[in-house]
Symmetry: C2
Subunit: 242 residues, 2 copies
């Protein structure tokens, strides 16, 4: 939260006064053509209006009119490992931050690093996604945009998260399994195929595509830039003052 300090009000009063007094003196001179009179009016105005302006600033700091609260959103990327969720999410988060919004970026890999004991069984994944959803919704409630990228393979868990949030934008990054496996950025698919990873989504654990996502992204057709733009356009379409 921001509060305006007294120093700021004083600095504004001073900067305005200099500007204003020059204008007034000039004006009086144009009307009267008397230099000394113009400067005298300017001098008295300078002193008297400094206090008046400062007072005016302090009064307005108490007035809420025109202080616009931006309504945030939870932008939830779901999709297979390697589908491109994080890359697009990173772009969207950066764009929002550049526009001066508060943004929290939540990523599956990062959160699992902080909580290394989080398992991959159905109840563990479900509980994990629900708790992240609670985190996301609490941030949203406090004026923060959340850009979350999690495999989040179960419709149930995602619906729970949707229910917690006010303004939920589900983005399904629908890269086909074959393509994710072909890219295999982290080498996880190869390991999963060799049976080295249990409960691997797409290989040994199901992925349930979203029933009614706000946005589906086809990474075979859209570049990360284009995909990011699609997400921001969808946000703007919901009137978020983005």
């Amino acid at each position: 939260m921001f509060r305006e300090t007294h120093a700021r009000s004083v600095a504004k009063a001073l900067s305005w006064r200099i500007l204003g007094t020059i204008a007034t003196s000039l004006l009086v001179f144009l009307f009267t053509r008397r230099l000394v009179l113009s400067l005298a009016v300017g001098a008295v105005e300078f002193v008297s209006k400094l206090g008046l302006f400062w007072f005016h600033e302090r009064v307005w700091d108490r007035i809420r009119f025109g202080k616009q609260q931006v309504e945030p959103a939870v932008i939830w990327f779901t999709g297979l490992s390697g589908s491109g969720k994080s890359t697009i999410a990173d772009r969207v988060a950066r764009e929002l931050a550049d526009r001066g919004h508060r943004v929290e970026r939540l990523d599956g890999d990062v959160v699992r690093n902080i909580f290394p004991n989080t398992g991959f069984t159905r109840p563990e994944r479900d509980q994990h996604v629900r708790r992240i959803g609670f985190l996301a919704s609490t941030l949203e409630k406090n004026g923060v945009f959340v850009v979350a990228s999690f495999v989040s393979p179960y419709e149930d868990s995602r619906q729970f998260v949707r229910g917690l949030c006010r303004n939920f934008l589900e983005v399904y990054v629908a890269t086909p399994l074959g393509e994710c496996e072909r890219r295999d950025v982290k080498g996880l698919y190869a390991r999963a195929r060799r049976g080295e990873i249990d409960h691997f989504t797409g290989i040994s654990d199901p992925y349930e595509p979203p029933a009614r996502p706000e946005l589906v992204i086809d990474t075979m057709k859209s570049s990360p830039e284009q995909a990011g733009e699609q997400v921001l356009a969808a946000l703007r379409g919901r009137n978020n003052g983005v």
Copy 2:
């Protein structure tokens, strides 16, 4: 986050202009005793300075100087069930909100209602507290005061949370077990004694008192009002602009 709308800048310019022009006309009249001249200067000033002031407002909206970011804190209440954590925490949260801060109140019972499958074994409690700590630290990072009340019986878990937060205030509500059991507000101690609740802190599960809490509250000596005041005083002592 707040942005100042154009409408606000226009309204401020107008209100200032009315005030300012009256002062200028008065000033010119005092110097010249010529009524028509004074009104003419006022009229031209009114129009020309409206634009100048609006421009000045828009420039200042871009300047960060004097926009004070209040540094928030995570206030973490730990103690036995029935020790009085929630009562004191509620008071502190209300006081902070009344002072215009963003505040999130996190309570053990409330969070467990949202996540009914959270268990009470040591690893489950530990994981639970750590995840709440992550939530709290993320809110703090985004400018939100967090007032958390959790039994959080293990020193390890609390230290983990402390490590995540920037400004962590651990408040140990040190009501003795005998007193908590005598009060037994929720009837849980009686049930725990009858063996109906497993892993009940103080009865069938250990409580590890904090090694170095920022504040210890003795609810045998302090009323909830006094305890709340102690917490706020401790916060002020840490220079949080509270």
